[in-house]
């Protein structure tokens, strides 16, 4: 297409990473514009007026928002590494697991970290069940996508780095090798993949975000950016 690609993102965000890794898998050149989420830029609000969130992909003058929508857009527009399968049934299946990750796994693991008492026990039980179900989907393969990274792998990226860091910060031991050997093996494969390595944040960056904000995030049950 020849039009420029810009990604408004934030390295600490796994959602931002999803968009970046899709661009890298396709070997695309893009400009990464770092957003300060405590002080969102006019441009970000202009391009995502409804949700005012990152990531936002700007393709020429056209903004695309929502990480999974961005990933599917990149896959449809650009040749190269296929992210979604071609077969309609397999595509539906990939989308099912992407949704499972975003609607069950992620919120349950998040709340397991940021609650306590009986509430936490309940979330941990739910998260354990969901993680086990997701692990089952791996079926001993290198990636959820088979031999190469696909949509499900990209959507599950938090499990490869972010959750591990977050649970350490809060003192939880939910996602570990003893209980989830396959998921942890997958995490290592994911982190070591070429396109991923190029855009994975350093652990220290993520720790640097969560550790000083621990109490406030616990109170709000949601990220605080300032």
């Amino acid at each position: 297409m020849g039009e420029t690609l810009k990604l408004f993102g934030w390295k600490v965000s796994p959602y931002s990473h999803r968009a970046e890794v899709a661009l890298r898998l396709k070997g695309l050149k893009y400009e990464f514009i770092h957003e300060d989420l405590a002080n969102k830029s006019d441009m970000l609000i202009r391009y995502n007026p409804i949700l005012k969130k990152i990531p936002v992909l700007l393709h020429g003058d056209t903004p695309i928002v929502e990480s999974q929508v961005i990933v599917e857009y990149i896959d449809e527009v650009f040749d190269g590494h296929p992210i979604l399968p071609k077969d309609p049934y397999e595509r539906a299946e990939a989308r099912f697991w992407a949704r499972f990750i975003d609607e069950k796994v992620r919120p349950q693991v998040w709340m397991s970290c940021w609650t306590d008492g009986e509430t936490q026990k309940s979330f941990i039980a739910q998260a354990k069940e969901s993680l086990a179900i997701l692990q089952g989907r791996l079926e001993g393969k290198k990636f959820f996508g088979g031999d190469s990274i696909g949509l499900i792998d990209i959507m599950a990226c938090s499990l490869a780095l972010w959750f591990g860091v977050m649970q350490e910060v809060v003192g939880l031991n939910l996602l570990n090798e003893d209980d989830y050997p396959e998921l942890c093996r997958w995490g290592e494969e994911y982190r070591n993949a070429e396109a991923v390595k190029e855009c994975l944040p350093e652990r220290e960056l993520i720790v640097g975000f969560f550790a000083p904000r621990k109490d406030r995030i616990f109170a709000k049950k949601a990220p605080v950016y300032d």
Binding site: V69, Y73, P88, A92
Partner: protein
């Protein structure tokens, strides 16, 4: 499930999510077997077809299950691609369609449920939220015939089943959709002129009876 040829839909009569699938199938002229599920006593078939969520709708195509209503609609659109295309062809428009369908998914049912489940301050908050949602959608619709433009499309399919819940939302929370979002109200009437929609959507009064039943069940009021 045996690898039987054909299409089956596991569903529940009043479910707006199930209705999305029914409308898509009707638009495409696909013959299928409809199976009504008793949600208090789910069938073996449902539990086997959707072991992760145990929810309807589930589309079973030649023995293979597809779950999650919007995923089902995209699947139907991709498989029966020769007729009544629901997704736009250009990638940017497709991204837009997915964004709005996802927005509807995350906002409408949840907020709507709070309208009949809650009272007082909490209900007022939900009402304000619903009005905001409807007005955002109205801005997106603009003066177009459908969300999809001239043709009935993915976002229309995603949203239209909720129009038979408008009467319940209005009655429980005391507001008028036509009053706050007249273009949405007109769009809803236009959609009802389509056979696929008219034959699928539940009668708003029947939906309201169902909501009253749920209210009793949840001890609301």
């Amino acid at each position: 499930m045996a690898s039987e040829k054909g299409v089956m839909l596991l569903d529940f009569w009043v479910s707006p999510f199930g209705q999305r699938a029914r409308i898509a199938l009707a638009e495409k002229g696909v013959q299928y077997e409809y199976k009504e599920e008793n949600l208090t006593e789910k069938s073996e078939l449902l539990l086997k077809a959707n072991p992760v969520h145990k929810k309807i709708p589930v589309l079973i195509h030649d023995g293979k299950p597809v779950c999650e209503s919007l995923i089902i609609v995209e699947y139907i659109d991709e498989v029966w691609s020769d007729k009544a295309t629901l997704m736009p062809s250009a990638p940017y428009q497709r991204a837009q369609a997915r964004f709005w369908a996802d927005f509807i998914d995350k906002k409408v049912y949840d907020c709507g449920s709070r309208l009949w489940k809650l009272k007082g301050e909490e209900q007022q908050t939900a009402k304000k939220e619903m009005i905001d949602i409807l007005q955002l959608l109205e801005a997106q619709l603009g003066d177009k015939k459908y969300f999809g433009g001239d043709s009935f499309g993915f976002v229309d399919v995603a949203f239209v089943p909720f129009t038979s819940w408008f009467y319940s939302y209005e009655t429980c929370a005391n507001f008028s959709v036509e009053g706050v979002a007249p273009k949405i109200a007109q769009w809803a009437k236009r959609c009802m002129e389509r056979e696929s929609v008219a034959k699928t959507l539940s009668d708003p009064k029947k939906v309201y009876e169902f909501v009253c039943f749920l209210k009793k069940k949840f001890g609301v009021e």
